[in-house]
């Protein structure tokens, strides 16, 4: 019973993603998945024969109207007769897939696991699909889509913390600028603070430029146990800790100022990874921000600043590319937003930073990355620590 608290070490040894775009009419869902998988396998110097197990993650199946789509896309990636499982968790599906793959390797079920996540949002009615998230008897009548809930949440932060629309607008300016250097981003256009503040209100205080695009895209990673990791690369991104927690959905009892499930996940993960001062210890952070206001919440829930300190942190410039704790050098979801893939894309962006091979702006000497993701109606939240 040695090693009770330590499974096998798991590293990310190969990554791949598609060039995300609004509408990929040239490929099916299966074709999209194939592109990301081919790139991840090539990056890991492997073929499908080397892969023991496959995890497939997508957003809700209503997004693209194929039930249990893993059973279809399996053929397109040549994975027939392999162990394949699908994990889903709304917007956090990609991260939840990475987590499931992590445990397949850490628990000794596989030496190499391929995790692929995707959504092809051009093929379905997005806000309609999301609206069915709510309780059919008590929730759907008034909770249309996800934007109404998110606006209420942001407004609560403004009322209680005195944060302004400008604080969130700074996130839009920063992430949209960062996305320009990201070869896979779908939206690459610099905007000014005033442009964000003056953009069309969609559900106030959420305005057009606070909102990410809707994208078609896929992402894939290869996870490997320590004894095979170095066949793929000299410098794997080791997963020092990873967790994904939830809170039950009774809104009346939820404090939306801090994300309780994210704070819980961070507590687990920081303990596993030996993180005591996240602001100082992390070199780079990647978060999944479905609307700009959420990035501010994550700063606080992840302990990058004290509760209520997010507006000050973004205003200080610390989370800019040249700041002491750059957040979303990839541009985050504001650059590309194939929802079910976003969590895995954040893992890829964090991993390539510590592997020293980011295709975006490489943060110099990045050794330790923090990655955040989440889904549901802000009640499923997780994070991971990656180190080279």
């Amino acid at each position: 019973m040695a090693n009770l608290n330590k499974g096998r070490h798991v590293g990310i040894v190969g990554v791949g993603q598609t060039h995300h775009s609004r509408r990929r009419t040239d490929v099916s869902q299966a074709g999209l998945v194939r592109e990301a998988v081919d790139r991840a396998l090539a990056d890991a110097k492997l073929t499908m024969d080397d892969i023991d197990t496959v995890v497939i993650a997508t957003g809700p199946v209503l997004f693209a109207a194929v039930n249990q789509p893993e059973k279809w896309v399996a053929d397109a990636i040549g994975a027939q007769l392999k162990p394949i499982v699908r994990v889903t968790s709304g917007g956090g599906a990609g991260f939840a897939g990475g987590l499931a793959g992590y445990y397949q390797v850490a628990g000794g079920f596989a030496d190499r696991t391929l995790v692929v996540a995707y959504d092809k949002l051009s093929e379905g009615a997005l806000q309609y699909s999301i609206s069915t998230l709510y309780d059919p008897f008590w929730g759907r009548e008034f909770a249309v889509g996800i934007m109404g809930f998110s606006a209420a949440y942001w407004r609560a932060r403004m009322d209680v913390l005195g944060h302004t629309e400008e604080a969130a607008a700074r996130v839009a300016v920063k992430n949209r600028r960062n996305a320009i250097a990201n070869p896979y981003a779908h939206v690459k256009k610099e905007v000014t603070l005033d442009e964000v503040l003056e953009s069309k209100p969609l559900c106030w205080p959420i305005k057009l430029l606070d909102v990410p695009p809707i994208s078609d895209g896929a992402a894939a990673i290869v996870l490997a146990a320590e004894h095979v990791a170095h066949k793929s690369c000299d410098r794997p991104a080791w997963i020092h800790g990873i967790a994904y927690c939830c809170e039950a959905d009774n809104a009346a009892e939820r404090s939306l100022l801090l994300s309780e499930p994210l704070a819980l996940a961070a507590k687990h993960v920081y303990r596993a990874a030996g993180i005591t001062n996240p602001r100082r210890q992390f070199d780079v952070v990647e978060v999944q921000e479905p609307y700009t206001c959420f990035e501010l919440n994550y700063y606080e829930s992840l302990g990058l600043c004290p509760p209520g300190g997010a507006a000050e942190l973004i205003a200080s410039g610390a989370t800019e590319l040249n700041g002491d704790i750059p957040v979303n050098p990839s541009g985050g979801c504001l650059g590309a937003n194939p929802i079910g893939a976003c969590g895995l894309i954040r893992l890829i962006e964090g991993a390539t930073q510590v592997m020293g091979k980011s295709e975006n702006t490489q943060i110099k000497d990045a050794k330790l990355a923090l990655v955040q993701s989440g889904g549901g109606w802000a009640n499923l939240r997780g994070c991971a620590v990656l180190g080279a």
Partner: protein, 376 residues
């Protein structure tokens, strides 16, 4: 490898009914979550994580787990939704404990097909461009499999009907299934067209219900249960989606899953006393029995109801198929047959069963399969 051993500590299920019209999903789920801890000394506070299986499509709700987190007992815990049969959720949970990151996990699967279009659930799985427009679906696949199997191996309608009748009878006795009247072979034969050549009662019957399985690291399991059942091997495999490229009369992915599970358990063959098998139809069950190595090709019927291995003492999936929960129910019943064999009419004590196989399936024409080996 220094990885933890994992055992089934306890399980709970609702009655399986054609329709639980007086209960919502959360009622079914919370009833099994509340009762699974009984007699274990473990409480919800001790649970590190919840992994659940259900279908957004059957539930008519996106991210449906999100709406059931409270009932699942998952508040402030790690939770994951595996949108496959619950046996895959159990596989995830076992890996989590084996890694040493967690010690106690709750696996939950549920289904309420009475509120859904089951045909739509299946047909939406079919390839959308070439197969859906011609109406190909799960029933067609199941019928074609039966035709090919019977052509390759012979076998009569009556044999199949007798198997179905035996399963319904077992389900009434041991399966926790609500049954008005157990059909006999004649009733099965006269139940109308199901998927030619299969009659309606030769197809698995969708039912409503929920099941919870509590799993734990070895030292905790030994304290919590007088008879912990160890999960010693797990295997899964997914066959091609394109049905025309599959071998119609065998389940290659079930064979691969069994090989993997037995290999991990150190078994050279299907060396079990008990087997709980999921079949989409009477022929699907025979194909699964053969793929698991419990009988040779075409010989499934000869061991299905009488043989050295007790197969489907719970009745299996034919009388009660709570889609998404069926395989996890097989795990629950297989584990209970090892821990309390006398409840299933098996010999207890020194000569009692010590090894079991649990099998789950998913997809059109049982495309994907999962196998667990259990030992006491």
């Amino acid at each position: 490898m220094g990885l933890s051993r994992v055992a089934v500590v306890a399980s709970a299920q609702t009655e399986l009914r054609g329709a639980w019209s007086g209960a919502q999903h959360i009622d079914l789920i919370s009833s099994v979550v509340a009762s699974v801890f009984k007699g274990t000394g473990i409480s919800l506070d001790d649970v590190d994580f919840v992994i659940d299986s259900g279908s957004d499509v059957l539930d008519g709700r996106s991210i449906s787990n999100c709406g059931f987190l409270g009932a699942l007992g998952a508040h402030h815990k790690e939770e994951a939704r595996v949108e496959e049969d619950g046996l895959w959720a159990a596989l995830y949970g076992v890996n989590k404990i084996r890694s040493g990151a967690s010690s106690v996990g709750l696996i939950v699967a549920y289904s309420k097909p009475s509120e859904s279009s089951v045909d739509a659930f299946w047909n939406a799985q079919v390839e959308p461009f070439y197969q859906r427009p011609v109406g190909f679906g799960h029933k067609a696949a199941t019928g074609i499999q039966a035709q090919r199997y019977l052509k390759a191996h012979g076998g009569s309608d009556r044999q199949l009907a007798e198997l179905v009748a035996a399963r319904w009878s077992a389900a009434e006795e041991n399966g926790g299934v609500a049954i008005d009247e157990v059909p006999n072979a004649d009733t099965v034969l006269e139940s109308g067209a199901g998927a030619t050549p299969l009659t309606r009662l030769m197809l698995a019957r969708p039912v409503d219900g929920a099941v919870a399985v509590l799993i734990a690291r070895e030292d905790i399991a030994r304290r919590a249960s007088r008879a912990p059942v160890f999960i010693t091997g797990m295997g899964t495999s997914m066959d091609r989606h394109a049905f025309g490229t599959r071998d119609g009369a065998t389940l290659a992915s079930a064979e691969a899953a069994a090989r993997m599970a037995y290999g991990k358990a150190g078994w050279s063959d299907a060396d079990a006393d008990v087997a709980e098998v999921s079949g989409s139809s009477a022929v699907g069950e025979l194909m699964a029995i053969e793929a698991l190595g419990l009988a040779g090709a075409g010989q499934g019927a000869s061991v299905a109801t009488s043989g050295k291995v007790a197969i489907n003492r719970s009745g299996g999936a034919l009388p009660a198929d709570p889609i998404m929960a069926t395989g996890l129910l097989r795990l629950a019943h297989a584990a209970r047959q090892l821990s309390t064999p006398e409840l299933y009419g098996l010999n207890g004590g020194a000569g009692g069963p010590t090894k079991a196989i649990a099998h789950g399936a998913g997809g059109v024409g049982m495309q994907s399969n999962c196998v667990f080996t259990l030992e006491v």
